[in-house]
């Protein structure tokens, strides 16, 4: 349904020397260099999928999303939704999509929320009867009733986000782009937003492209992850395949009366862990050990630990996605 083919975006960046003098210099003799923000990215998204689109800050995520939403024109390559191309016919393309940028709002700031929906209804040419049905549905999913008559400037961040999602869904788009939809929200509100996204996806088969730094969003919602770094795609697959591929890290936690457990245990020497394969932290009695289970099997590490120190409570956890991503962001992905 969404087809992204060899997408590339270059920016021209002016190089400025520091200070006022540098600014003057660049005013009269500007120097610029070409920066490749997105380099040859391709992927497909089938109808009804929730795609988690992730990558560290500055990886080019926003640039890709902005090309997919018709905001930026690609330097080369293209993206299409059901064959429609934003650089060819932007207006018919954007009717198919809804866009929410968590850090911006498209609501009319000074007016009661209801007014925004009235205007968007006209902009998207939603007929009166389907508008009513639509508002009823969005009301049910996002619970707008309690603040729909309040001016937008008085809404809390969580209310505003719900209102913005509703605004982007008013014209029943086939694809919903959500850029950081849970940024700055508390746990309960995050849960509400997530279940709303899930409900919209389930009931209407809306395809969702989700960018976020909160990996719980990804883990709870996404069927599939595309990860980019330094402008290139570095991973494309399901959450579980990401775990299989990079998830050999296990986390073991135990309590002990030993003050300097990490020195006494000396995992690195014993099992030959490299620097990236192991981390040991001790906080009071609680010791957290993260290790690469492909270097040493869990049973060995567990047995060895129980032998060497006095352990009162112990558990070993499966790799969680956050840990995997943290490692990938830090060291980049080696293929």
């Amino acid at each position: 349904m969404i087809k992204v083919e060899n997408l590339r975006k270059e920016f021209k960046k002016t190089i400025k020397e520091p200070g006022l003098k540098g600014s003057f210099k660049s005013l009269f003799r500007p120097k610029s260099e070409k920066v490749v923000a997105v380099n040859d990215i391709s992927f497909d998204v089938p109808k009804g999928e929730i795609l988690g689109f992730i990558g560290p800050n500055g990886a080019g995520k926003s640039t890709v999303i902005k090309m997919l939403t018709g905001i930026l024109t690609p330097t080369s390559g293209r993206c299409t939704i059901n064959g429609k191309n934003p650089t060819v016919n932007r207006k018919s393309y954007v009717k198919e999509i809804g866009v929410v940028f968590g850090q911006r709002t498209q609501l009319w700031w000074d007016l009661p929320l209801r007014e925004t929906y009235g205007v968007l209804k006209e902009i998207y040419e939603v007929p009166e009867d389907s508008f009513k049905k639509r508002m009823a549905f969005l009301n049910e999913v996002l619970e707008l009733d309690s603040f729909i008559t309040s001016p937008v400037r008085t809404l809390s961040l969580g209310q505003r986000m719900r209102a913005d999602i509703a605004a982007s869904m008013l014209h029943s788009p086939k694809v919903l782009f959500l850029d950081e939809p849970t940024i700055g929200l508390d746990v309960v509100v995050k849960d509400n937003i997530r279940s709303a996204i899930e409900q919209i996806n389930r009931q209407e088969q809306t395809t969702v492209i989700l960018t976020t730094h909160d990996l719980a969003d990804i883990e709870l919602l996404s069927d599939r992850i595309v990860m980019i770094d330094k402008g290139s795609k570095v991973f494309d697959g399901s959450v579980s395949s990401l775990k299989d591929k990079y998830g050999q890290i296990r986390e073991m936690k135990f309590e002990t009366d030993s003050k300097n457990a990490s020195e006494r245990l000396g995992y690195a020497e014993k099992f030959g862990f490299g620097e990236d394969d192991l981390s040991v932290e001790q906080e009071g009695a609680l010791v957290t050990v993260r290790f690469n289970s492909s270097v040493a099997p869990i049973s060995d590490v567990l047995g060895y630990t129980l032998q060497r120190v006095n352990v009162s409570d112990i558990n070993v956890k499966d790799a969680d996605i956050e840990e995997i991503i943290r490692r990938l962001y830090k060291q980049g992905v080696e293929e």
Binding site: T69, G70, T73, K95, R104, W108, V119, I123, E125
Partner: protein, 266 residues
């Protein structure tokens, strides 16, 4: 036809939103209206002081000069009232990445930007302009014909589009430079020359305000036709032509600019 109806509908809705927004902050609105009336009074006083001391200027009578002055304020005021949002493109919207919003909506971006805001202050120019025209016109002994009335009314929207076109071209520069407020300002301010008969300037200035930044076509030349009935082909035709050329240029540069638009990091 359907497209025009839709455009008018959207325009009407945006204006309604703006009026509601003004009502939302009633105190600000009332103070704004009072301030606006004070400014207009002082403008009128200033005009009176100037023109009371010039009985005639290079063959132009006081009434004729005031008529041109008043006529120049009408297209300027209409553009200012309806299409003032272009200034924000030059100063904020592009630089802050807020232009994203327009690109994700199924409405022509230039149209959307143009009609999104109204600037009530402009009513001052419009009221003063119409008043000056109404006061001076009966005293000028103009010979009216059906054609003249028709052309005099018809020329106003085209004169307005000369303003809008110049602002569109200069505002679009922001897509490349991120900020073009000063560029708009520089060109826009040339309209100060257009309030007076172009004949009083030297050839260089006259040619600039006729052919390059053609604000003289928004007042002096149409007024010349109304006063003398001479050469409608140039005096009115050039205004129509300039409006068409500038708006076309504006639309082209605007859409080129969108391709160069870089948004802002988020």
């Amino acid at each position: 036809m359907r497209k025009i109806r839709r455009a008018m509908r959207i325009h009407r809705i945006f204006i309604a939103q703006e009026l509601k927004r003004m009502m939302e902050y009633k105190g600000d609105f009332i103070v704004g209206v009072i301030g606006f009336l004070l400014v207009q009074c002082s403008n009128l006083l200033f005009l009176w002081l100037i023109f009371a001391n010039i009985p005639s200027l290079m063959g132009w009578s006081l009434d004729q000069i005031v008529f041109i002055y008043g006529f120049s304020l009408i297209p300027k005021g209409i553009d200012h009232l309806f299409f003032d949002n272009l200034w924000n493109i030059g100063y904020f919207i592009v630089r802050k990445g807020d232009f994203d919003k327009y690109l994700t909506r199924p409405v022509n971006t230039l149209f959307h930007v143009l009609v999104e805001k109204i600037q009530i202050d402009a009513l001052g120019e419009l009221i003063v302009g119409i008043a000056l025209v109404c006061v001076t016109l009966p005293r000028l002994g103009v010979e009216w014909s059906v054609l003249k009335v028709l052309l005099a009314v018809l020329v106003i929207p085209f004169a307005t589009l000369i303003y809008t076109g110049i602002k569109t071209v200069t505002a679009s520069v922001a897509f490349w430079t991120k900020r073009s407020g000063s560029v708009i300002y520089m060109f826009y301010m040339v309209n100060d020359f257009a309030k007076y008969p172009a004949a009083i300037y030297n050839e260089v200035v006259k040619n600039i305000i006729t052919y390059i930044v053609p604000f003289a076509l928004t007042a002096y030349y149409p007024a010349l036709y109304i006063l003398t009935g001479e050469n409608p082909l140039f005096n009115i035709g050039m205004t129509v032509l300039a409006a068409a050329v500038l708006m076309t240029l504006g639309v082209i540069v605007w859409h080129r600019g969108i391709r160069a638009y870089e948004s802002a990091g988020s």
